[in-house]
Symmetry: D2
Subunit: 374 residues, 4 copies
């Protein structure tokens, strides 16, 4: 693991998720550039002192030589380090599991895509919400045509935790997210907008072809956007809207996907992730429940508990890790292809960075619609 020292929110979540099924173990890390902080973090994760490094390149160098070397590197740093750490890992021959977004800019994303291609190593992005079983069920349904042709999409991701100027208080999570040097081009759009964008493309099976964006910095003095509203067209011409906010006061982590086809609509809400709502034209509405017998066989493998026993974000995260671990262990040459079928990778990383960059361009110019290259 690179990153994840005290104060990190996502580091411990990666650890829990990775280890949940007993098939992955966190054994080494460069948790902080401060040797003492890294050592302390290592101890908190139960890692021997010698494998708690203060420098990720040192970690890779030394781990590479061990018999019991790490199999892959997990990146949980602020955004600006995603690229250099990922490149170093690939160059040292390690697969990469990276937190989103892939990189801080689109240009960096292309560079990383090239490196992944060149090394033929596995690269996965924790677009966590794609690990929820019912999101995967929705994806299967939508792609199999259960809704008919997709005609409209609404995706929302709203949070309220940046309603105040939290960064001014020194809050670690808020500080780096609101600093362009660490967060990159996008504020809310880079932090959570990419989740919304990815979820839409992941489930619908369509690409966003055009957008018209309005990004705002609502809280005074904030350099990056904290509220984003986007009109969009899918590649089949269907209209839609995507809106994300980190100043939606009182909202928690309100990610919603609404997808409408010719026959009905599909509705999923991250805060109640164990239900998938389907509204049909001329027929009663349906609710699919987590772990039910009637779900697709592949979906059912994504549950660890029987019906009515809530599973949450850690399990969704763990599904991504489990799929990644299966690919890492696989000896078959198509492991990477199989993985990329279900787990977002560098392709989705480039897509989402394209979205961020084009949204910033569209919003700045106030000139209306801009296209997204396929």
């Amino acid at each position: 693991m690179v990153g994840g020292a005290a104060g990190s929110f996502i580091g411990p979540v990666h650890r829990m998720a990775a280890e949940l099924d007993g098939v992955i173990e966190l054994v080494a890390g460069a948790f902080s550039q401060d040797p003492e902080r890294s050592r302390q973090a290592g101890a908190s994760y139960g890692i021997s002192a010698e494998r708690a490094y203060a420098n990720y390149e040192e970690m890779m160098e030394r781990e590479r030589k061990r018999q019991d070397a790490i199999d892959f590197v997990c990146i949980v740093t602020p955004n600006h380090l995603h690229l250099p750490v990922a490149l170093a890992a690939l160059e040292h021959g390690f697969h990469v599991m990276s937190d989103k977004p892939a990189t801080a800019t689109l240009e960096e994303a292309y560079a990383l895509q090239e490196a992944v291609r060149r090394t033929s190593l596995l690269y996965a992005l924790t677009f966590t919400y794609t690990g929820y079983p019912l999101v995967r069920e929705a994806r299967q349904m939508a792609r199999a045509g259960a809704l008919g042709k997709i005609r409209k999409a609404v995706v929302q991701y709203s949070q309220g935790w940046l309603s105040g100027s939290l960064e001014a208080t020194g809050h670690k999570q808020a500080v780096w997210r609101s600093d362009p040097a660490q967060a990159g081009l996008g504020g809310a759009i880079g932090d959570i907008g990419v989740h919304a964008f990815n979820l839409l493309e992941y489930v619908s099976g369509h690409r966003v072809a055009e957008i018209c964006a309005d990004l705002s910095s609502v809280v005074a003095g904030r350099a990056l956007d904290d509220d984003c509203n986007v009109l969009l067209k899918l590649d089949n011409g269907a209209p839609g809207v995507l809106f994300v906010s980190q100043i939606a006061a009182g909202d928690r982590n309100d990610l919603q996907l609404h997808l409408y086809g010719e026959k009905g609509g599909l509705h999923w809400w991250q805060e109640d992730p164990n239900r998938l709502e389907l509204n049909w034209i001329g027929k009663p509405s349906q609710t699919l429940h987590a772990a039910a017998d009637y779900l697709a066989p592949s979906t059912r493998l994504d549950f660890r508990l029987p019906m009515g026993h809530p599973e949450g974000l850690v399990e969704a995260f763990a599904n991504i890790y489990r799929d990644f671990a299966v690919a890492v262990r696989s000896r078959f040459s198509d492991a990477a292809a199989q993985l990329s079928d279900i787990v977002p990778g560098i392709r989705e990383g480039v897509r989402s960075m394209t979205f961020v960059e084009r949204a910033v361009v569209s919003s700045r110019s106030r000139a209306g619609w801009v296209g997204l290259p396929r």
Copy 2:
């Protein structure tokens, strides 16, 4: 009543709502231009044959001369007749209660505004959702600053009933709504977009200052829009999004308002109208329930039943009629001003037609943002 013969959805609703409190009685009507259909409609409403007219001008002419003349005219025709009927009523000295939208075009709305001003008669628009007590409570709260400065607005109105080409089957409601000659400039945006727009301005106390709209005709062969997605800015600079659809397959009548301020967010959903949700920063969420003691005194007068006994759309409608009847009966010179404080009138009619016209312009040009005059 003008309009409302067999096949009308909204005519009988107006009748029920108007008469609910026992202070208004439907006694005359020009329900259809077909004398026989008008007579039948009159009979179904319990009206004497002599007062079931086939022509609204004849109705006004003859009613004006009766001792027991009607006090006001209620307009429930397709949109293109709203203006001529309203003008005729005002000219004959009758107050007007009109179904929305005020007129078929913005130009017509200005003409009507002028006539209302000239005659000093009462004119109210049944933006029905403003009659829900908890919408009025939300309005009071937002305007009194309970949320702090408004920072973001989301308003959604989605229906699925036009997912198929219902107009091709001869369905009366669908036929006129999809015919520009009868519906006017806007399809979904004129039919339900104006509700969403009005609700936003009504509750927030802010005007929409700029919009950037995308209107689509999703169902093949449809001349008017059936899906609309709009970025917006309030007059205080707050960003927002408004989206409406009549091809959101499986949705029923899904009108939602989400308003975020500095302190918290306010959420109201028309399909569960007896709850008002408030999410606060740093405090537990609250739900206000219909008919509760802790609501504003004026709100409590809008309920007819105690807590937990659901009231619905007819009661919301009836609140508007009751407020209108109070103004009609009032001898005080400020009755019109008092009414316009709580019940939308021609000012809101002009606002909403401006919105429709500007949205059509913005969408056609694909040129980004357009301003709305105050």
Copy 3:
């Protein structure tokens, strides 16, 4: 109307409901035994002074002689007057629409049953919740075997409005409900327990065969029960539980029915009456929505608005009145039988009073189970 003067909750609701469809008109009443209060109530209902009587017998006597006499009497007094007023009405040849419970005691209910039989007049009880369209849909489904054999029933009715000693403050509704001389044998069980009991039998198509009850007076100084918990067996042996309370602090009007069969469960909640939830074994859950095309044809006639436009208690009430009016007008000899098929009458009145009486007996003896005669 007998009863319903100022301070009455249910009188105005009966008026609104009766008149909602324009086929019934309130034209006379003995609203109070105080002539002045009766006259004032009459005026508030828009009734001519001469038909606002101070005495129900006088009303019946005088109305009987009018050309435009009333067709039926509606009883909205406290419980202890239900029997004498109903008997007088029947004796004067008027049909009767009575608020629940039928009478104050079981003995009285038998007497009334005898009078109804003897006069062959129509008698209906406003077990209001049976007027909700989705309750009627549930009834049809359950009786048609959609759930398979019924195996378990849970019915709950909880309110919190008597959590304090409201009767000590002179609150009119609370005073008579807590006075055995006016309310009869039961407190909460007579006031709302009978609704719960009736709803269970109405929907399930089964009779309650045995009960074991625990009635409490939780608020100090209260003579009648304010909280009741009852074990039960249906006539097919299925177990169940019924619990009602008026000291469930914070609850509003929380009536719920849960019915389980071999194939699935059916769930209806009065505070969200426009949804009917069905959970199936091995299949996705379903939600039936008000006014949907897929409901039974008879159910669809019970709606006045399209999908997604909430209807509430007044409309449920109005359905009962409308069915009653149809029977009153019918010239067919089986009108009474047809009515009793869908609207509760004296049979259900006797059933519910039997339930109250047996529950009181069971609770007092603490001796376990008691049977209910068929």
Copy 4:
């Protein structure tokens, strides 16, 4: 771990929960009495072959002599083995974490209580639902008097998975639960009724003083109860009802607690565990959300993710394990007392077995109320 071989539902859940925070590691087990099955289970848990025993006594004997011996034994067998395994563990000097119920009969529970007392070792019962943070918040609130005096309690636990005769198909979970020799005295009441009972006492701070129970075997041929409805009185005289079912067709794992005091009601639903609803008299309802700042400090330590990121049953389970691990490691003499303050132990084990035994007695006799000793 004793038990938990292939086919076990709860074994893997214990493993995940115990290891979630990285402070406990599963290192040895007697997973099955079949050596091969035990070895395979061990391998699936990542345990070395030499520590996958076929006999729990052998495990304890051999582990006791190791330098790196286990610290405690976790029991996940069918109910009839709970006592012998727990006794053996205590005799070998190991602390015990046992799945519920404590034992198969009340007599056994007393024996176990005596052994715990004698050895002064730690003993905890995974009444899992007590590990949910908002259940603990509810407990603090109720005990601190936030609701005022408790006046009514409703607790429901309904499942539908035994609606068919699943045991006849050889389904492992169903077979042992429906076999008195393995499950003990109670069917549904022993399996999930004890959860409901414990949750009620845990949160309310009151003991159940009297019950009147009705236990049924609804599915033909079933020896033990599969549906139970119970009237109850708390030790302060407050009435209540507890009902559990495993034949509530279509229900998943529907555990609900409703607690009413003088000031308001508290509502928690296991299938949406990250919300705690509070309805107050005369004030807006409140919802407390998981991980919110305004929760009690101790509650906040029970979350691993920020607001809006769902946590589920595994995390609730893990909280119990974490509290247990803290006590195991503690050198302070009051560790056991501190643990028993928050985590159910043998005292609650005896209470719940008393409840099962008394419920069976009450139901068989049909003689009404029976007391529960303090």
